[in-house]
Amino acid sequence: MAADNGDDDYQNRIKEGDYVVLKRGQIFKAVQIQQKKKVIFEKQWFYLDNAVGQLYNTTFEIASGGILQPQKVEDAESSFDSKEAGTDNRNIVDDGKSQKLTRDDIETLKEQGLKGQEIIQQLIENSSTFRDKTGYAQDKYIKRKKKKYENTVAILKPSCRIMALMYHGREPGKICHLRYDTLAQMLTLANIHAGSKVLVFETCAGLVLGAVMERMGGYGSVIQMYPGGGPLRAGVESFGFPAHFHDMLHDFPICHVNALLAGTMDTTAKDHATDEKQYNMAAEKGQNQPEGEQQGNPEEQSMETGDNPLQDQEKMEEEKRREARAQDKKMKLEEKRRKLAAAAALLEGRNADGLVIASRFHPCPVLLGLLKFLAPSRPFVVYSQYRETLIECYTKLKEQGGTVNIQLTDTWLRHYQVLPNRTHPLLLMSGGGGYVLSGTTVAVDHSKPAGSQQAEEPAPKRQKVKDTEG
């Protein structure tokens, strides 16, 4: 088929520097492919060098010395078919002696470099009860041993699905316990799509930002509103987006929101803020650097050095370097200023197409503040691990108006084991994936049409009416 030509394959090969996801069973880990880099995953260590040039989704076997070898298909498919099986467990006694191999024997097998597959075969052969187990119990036994002894790892291309599964499984605390199905709801409820202008405020390690960027495919713009000194994007890196995706990504410090809304944010104000930050950072690094930043300072310094006849060339060199550094920093500052101005310009129109909030901050002020940047008839979503904070958001939104279709929801997620005659829900399910408040902005109407007197009523009375409307 035309769609699957050589180019397509090139796209699907693992390259050095790629951000990839390792997978074993249901466990994921994001890493970057680097030569001679030791990776520890699921109590095993290996090098990724051999993976370069292989296709994504390949399963590798970890050989001695941490070398990865693509798994052969026959290996993966060979099964432990046992002809004999019992019908029930009436004669199976747990005497702790059914396995003839000792702990040490197994360790020896491992040291001999036996494959996981072969170790499991040995375990089966040396189990006195295996043949008496029912077919189902045999399956279960093999599955359990496979989990323990198979030393394979699959290398996947990152995607929103995989990243969300990975973070939820490994570091739920870092993403405010945002479960993947909840993230899915948010992306859909916020109508995230190519070509729109979306505001994102998150402290979920960049997972939410990355998810939004993936759905926009490099079209449109994303403005990351960030708290503190700078935007966090560790998770975004792991998505391994092509370079042009980053052109659509802007950032804006949330501490300037009030100034921007009040119209008091001018370029000089921005300069001061960034200069100051830069100054402080530089001051920590060394004494000389910040001086170069002040205007006219390089000249002063050169005059000083000129006054001293004992200064030799080394000093001159040092001077040049310092000047270059200052120049470099000036450029960087200029760049930063330009980017901030660009982000401010995007926000100033107050015509954003969507708003996504998922953070450890109290969502209420964030929502009320950032909602002002949305055009009318645009969706917004707020995530919170706790429902109380969203109850407050809901109440405030109802009070101030300007939104419709407000819904406070959460989702239940249930996984199933589907096997012949053994289908049932999984025994374990996630207790909670957080709560989502969603809605749509509408034009704030200052005139008083006949039907809207209730907006003029005192708050408590109005609330009662609204609440039941729900």
Partner: protein
Amino acid sequence: MSFVEYSDFIQDGDVAIVYLSHSSVMPVKVQHGAQTQTRYGVIRHSTDLIGKRYGSKVTCSKGGWVHVLHPTPELWTVALPHRTQILYTTDIATITMMLELKPGSVVCESGTGSGSLSHAILRTIAPTGHLHTVEFHQQRAEKVAEEFKEHRVDHLVTVRNQDVCKDGFGVTGVADAVFLDIPSPWEAVGHAKAALKKHGGRVCSFSPCIEQVQRTCEVLAEQGFEEISTLEVLLRVHDVRTISLPLPDFGPESGASENAPPNNTSVTLKTITPPREMPGHTGYLTFATKPRT
């Protein structure tokens, strides 16, 4: 207006969503000279809609008012005319993420039904992706094709009127993802495999009954699909309300002055209440990955 691109003002020929309340949303085809009846009175398109900003409040003839919203797949899902049972946003959101849909994805879908999921797919894969959707019911296929045109997304979709179990999707080796919502999905697994790209892709099947899931999973495994996983997602909508709980009177405290007025007779707090009834089941979602062949 388009379902894949926002615009600010309502124009002749647009499809706008008239929002009356949470449970009452209606789609309106905007036309010069046309009128729409609501329970708050009549909306005159020429004066009340055309040229107005999306999100505006529109006062109807009886003095009541409504909001006119820009169409989105989510609003369409609650407003669309049902010709079949449809998929709702909760399942759609899960399907979109688990199928890894994004701009540029090529997707195969069957059956098209009322087009609820189709619109959400189109929104996600635009502007460079494509949807091949198969509907064996001729009238439904024609109707949905007409809607795609009205919604200005017809350049992103091909509707085929054929039986997916017999004739497949009409394309091979091009899809990144396949979605099946048909009574016997196991009969279409082979066609799904053929439609997916050589280097692999994702498939999802939606079935209300566990027996259907069982058969589908068996065939998926036989056909070499991996990462087979069945799940169910349920939405819980919470009502925010203020409740007041009365406090019992324990009588006067010993030592306290008898004339002291009782402190509080009740405590008021904001809380959420789960709905008395909620949808308990829509369908099982079975996902799988087609490996490279």
